[in-house]
Subunit: 444 residues, 2 copies
């Protein structure tokens, strides 16, 4: 992509209305544009990042055998009356009347709708477990939307739902998602800590939030540092293996201030392992048994001839929110340098040629490099504008492609000035650059 | 995928509420489920087809250099008041009041919102042309939604928008989409005819509908058969080449009854070339100059120092509608046989083993074949249920994978019974099956 042809509207300065890093950067480099309070359009740069995050979330859902569906955004109020949540949900639910005066709503979550889909099709324990997910827009009518896409009204979310015959089987499903979430966040180059959580309006008896560390986070967190040494590498998609993995994580005290108790923290975590910092919620999983299946009559035939209500859980990841969360975790605000993890970077590399009025040498070289990278499936952005060199570098540091090739006045034959953002530059051949980036892309 | 583990709720008979082929089949094989009037959930089978269509639509947009963005579903009424369409649009617009009592709406189309995005960022002719698209849910509050996803209320659509400095440049943009649409429908194995059309509520002076032939189509069409002999193979992304291509299509009389004039038809089309049949609209493109840019103040600086309003067009493809349109065009209702084009088929091939209580030989062989196909990136579905053989064949004929491997009682060593749906079966080796399918996938 050539900057001159792109729709990447970059601002000279941070917009004054933005109070946190992610909101500032996203407006500054034209990733998003607000269309009304708490509602945003995703411009090409932001869209590319969000789509790459979506792909990773999708792959990790598919890897644990969840089937993808797509439920509509507009729901009938009827099923919400069946579950009893229509009145409970309060003003955050966007209520709508259609032209026939029917009560509709813009779905803030989908427990009711997916339970309705399940009950109309699945009748026997033999068809269980069923794991279903969709990635769809949701709406919550926040009274004071703020912080850009971090606390907005229309947001993009992956929500999954599990249906099982017993508590034990449902626990197995729960743990599959537990694993899948840790793997998803790792691929996004985020360290997410699972924390026992309250269940709020979703309800249920068991719940974990997945929280990533960020100084600017909304929640205060209290954790045992040793949790960072854990990994999911040994976990297999089997009951015992997954249960052991979850226990490994649960042995370390990690909570948000919502659940914090000073004496427990001090009893369970030795002084040198205590970490008190801030974090951002990026995922939340719930087990709630028959909370929805019972009032909505979603039951299956059991082996002995009896019937029972299915045991359900739900599992959310904020896809649009993750764009902001990654910025909060990775953006160096002081130096105005963003480096996207290569798995979700809008471009793999930026090519920055110095362009003077009567000298196109650097641009010509940039074009050749661009074509060669393209042949090797490396997605590059060229700054082909005639702005001054330092403002071009500054702009590319904000856009955040993790690598840069800088082409100054005196090009040094076949050796290029190559830079991993945040590190020193080096002079190397194009073929080596291709090798480095390709290896990083395969690994992530 | 194994049928026994899948969420593919198949009905024994056609549902009585469905009046047209696509609606019947989609309910019958569990591609969709209605959640309320004119609003559907997409179950795994339907979802897979729609996603594959979306991918092709996306690639063909990218191929002509359109940049992808994503605008929200909920819009403010303010911009619609600026363009003057807020009152005009009538009851099909789903109007919403949020908790602050602000007038919002669920976007039925996005001319206003994209013009707002454009005007806030692009100030100079130097940044033109700008071509932007998004693929997003829309809502039109039809008074009588019917025919399943063919005339529903919430639907998935690709809409693109072009911004140019002059009529001539805008015409070039228009012709790029004209080409892109013909290529898109061809990859979906559909013959689409571009027809001069009225512009309706979008407005403007130039418009084409793209219509595919289907006996059950909603529009009567009158066309010169010779239009089917045309191809886009020679067209290049250059002004003259694209103009010539469009002229080639426009030389043949092709209209819907909306524009039909008997004397013109008879004057322009010789008797042997006349075709009167029915069709379905799958795409619509519009050129409307400054209809939105003028009232909304979207202007750019021109070379001489003057300013002018940008010239705009818009370009829609109904992505969810195409799922139904392909069924209308391809489903053999009499014999209950569907054959999806391989580019969008939910599965590449169905494996149908005969399973008896005490004999797993056929299922074991099916499993081995499945794994071998998977290694070769061929997506198979196995019917591992113990239903009787003929009802399994019937079910798979409805699901519509374009190829089948049938494993009866007496398996014939390394020769498999292989069938392209609608053709006779043959006995061939697995490696040859892999070769045939791989070649078809690459070609499409």
């Amino acid at each position: 992509m050539y900057i001159s042809k792109s729709f990447i509207p970059i601002l000279k300065n941070n917009p004054s209305e933005a109070k946190i890093k992610s909101h500032q950067l996203m407006l500054r480099v034209g990733m998003i544009k607000q269309s009304s309070a708490g509602i945003y359009s995703w411009l090409p740069l932001g869209f590319k990042v969000m789509k790459k995050i979506e792909r990773i979330v999708r792959e990790e859902q598919n890897n644990i055998g969840v089937q993808e569906i797509l439920m509509p955004t507009i729901q009938s109020s009827e099923i919400w009356k069946e579950s009893g949540r229509y009145e409970d949900y309060g003003e955050e639910m966007l209520r709508i009347k259609d032209r026939q005066d029917r009560e509709m709503l813009y779905g803030p979550t989908n427990e009711e709708l997916v339970t309705d889909i399940f009950r109309s099709s699945i009748k026997s324990y033999k068809s269980l477990p069923q794991l279903l997910y969709h990635i769809q827009w949701k709406f919550r009518d926040e009274i004071r939307p703020r912080f850009g896409i971090m606390r907005c009204r229309e947001f993009y979310m992956k929500d999954a739902y599990s249906f099982d015959v017993s508590d034990e089987e449902a626990n197995f499903s729960y743990n599959k998602f537990f694993l899948s979430y840790l793997k998803t966040f790792k691929r996004l180059n985020l360290t997410a800590i699972p924390m026992a959580a309250d269940t709020g309006p979703i309800g249920g008896s068991l719940s974990h939030e997945f929280i990533i560390l960020a100084d600017t986070g909304e929640s205060k967190i209290f954790t045992d540092k040793r949790v960072f040494e854990l990994s999911t590498d040994d976990a297999k998609l089997e009951k015992n293996s997954l249960l052991n993995m979850r226990k490994k994580y649960e042995q370390y005290y990690s909570v948000t201030d919502e659940k914090f108790k000073k004496d427990e923290f001090e009893k369970n975590v030795s002084e040198k392992n205590r970490l008190i910092t801030k974090g951002i919620e990026v995922g939340h999983i719930f087990y709630f048994g028959d909370k929805y299946s019972k009032p909505m009559g979603a039951s299956v035939d059991l082996p002995g001839g009896k019937k029972d209500f299915v045991k359900m859980g739900s599992y959310g990841i904020g896809v649009s929110r993750l764009v902001g969360a990654i910025i909060e975790a990775k953006y160096d605000e002081k130096n105005e340098v963003m480096k996207w993890p290569i798995s979700v970077a809008p471009y793999d590399i930026a090519i920055i040629p110095m362009i003077n009025k009567n000298d196109n040498t650097a641009l010509d070289q940039a074009n050749k490099i661009y074509l060669e990278l393209e042949k090797n499936n490396i997605d590059a952005i060229i700054d082909d504008t005639d702005e001054n060199f330092s403002s071009k570098i500054k702009k590319m540091n904000l856009i955040g492609a993790p690598y840069q090739i800088i082409i100054g006045k005196k090009s040094d034959g076949h050796l290029l000035e190559f830079k991993e953002v945040g590190k020193d530059s080096q002079k190397i051949k194009l073929q080596n650059i291709i090798k480095i980036i390709t290896e990083q892309k395969v690994k992530n």
